[in-house]
Amino acid sequence: MPTEEARENKLFIIVAGAGKTGYNLTKLLAEEGHEVLLVEKTKARYYELNAELGENIFLGDASESDVLKEVGANRANAIVAVTGEDDTNLVICQLAKIMYMTPRTIARISNPKNEDIFSALGVDNVVNTTKIVNSLIEKEVDAGMLVPVLEMKGGKVEVVETEISSNSPVANRAIRDIKLPEECLIVSVVREDGVVFPHGNTVLQADDTVVVLIAKDKKAALRELL
């Protein structure tokens, strides 16, 4: 059930393309209490989802101007183009932006090389799926097990988590005795009995999970240390 607050901040969002992303996004936004309309151009997929989504799904090609008009692009707060084709997503965003003044346009792109042109052409947010997946894979294989928690400053600064193994040179040592790299700060230590706000006297123990704020280019140095 949407809360009172959600109803006040209720948005109208058009999602173009009922692939897995579009479908799940529609459900998520509807659950959050927003008004959402999913636009799908193939009949088969439309009928497949119609029973479940009812009036939240519309049959039509969102890259056609009259379809955008019909679904109410002029009163939408945002349009999200997540069809499988980069060019279609671009056209949808451009039409919505220029002809219907949709304040926010978001496009998914599959070809990472297209990111620049999308931004240059007035698409507000570009979701570069391939790049994201790629960076996730890179994170997955991050040796030394620095698990990324949060990225800040466009990825220049990161919050990472790591577990202290019993054979790590920093185990059983006080933080003040550990020579951390520059631009690297231990922000908390999580152990079985709770979270420790660390200071110089805090001794790291095996199996501690350490949360570290670190500049991206210092990660290698930290890995070495652990």
Binding site: S63, N111, N114, L121
Partner: protein, 143 residues
């Protein structure tokens, strides 16, 4: 003159062949389907290049460092044509960019956005209207 044509279909190949015959006219045809180039024939003096015109990465080879005078987007996909035309116009500042857009409304919308478009649907419609009009005299005949 340097001309880049995207789409080696019926229309693209005709335009390509015609332009390549002109003097000092350097023509490159792009198509994502390699088998499309047979349409150009063996004696085509220009160049065929297998590539996806909606991939921005391909243009660095073709457009960087050379002044392209004309870019024609002639595939049967409106959206692909529009996107390629935008790349040529915005990123590579090609002086003459023309896109084929089959959907009349879309053609008009992007014309307003500053892309020069032509719409085969509208052209055919006009032509048909002319053909069906009561014959006044022997005017143009269909070819």
């Amino acid at each position: 003159m340097k001309v880049v044509i995207m789409g080696c279909g019926r229309l693209g190949q005709r335009v390509a062949k015609k332009m390549a015959k002109e003097e000092n006219c350097d023509v490159i045809v792009i198509d994502k389907n390699a088998s499309a180039f047979h349409r150009l024939g063996k004696d085509f003096p220009g160049k065929g290049m297998q590539a996806d015109g909606t991939d921005m990465g391909i243009y660095s080879d073709i457009m960087e460092g050379v002044a392209v005078d004309v870019f024609l987007a002639l595939t049967n996909s409106d959206n692909a044509n529009i996107m390629a035309a935008e790349i040529a116009r915005q990123k590579y500042k090609v002086a003459k960019v023309i896109a084929r857009v089959d959907d009349p409304i879309r053609a008009k919308a992007f014309e307003e956005l500053g892309i020069e478009t032509f719409c085969p649907t509208v052209l055919s419609e006009k032509r048909l209207a002319k053909m069906m009009a009561p014959p006044k005299q022997e005017e143009e005949r269909g070819d």
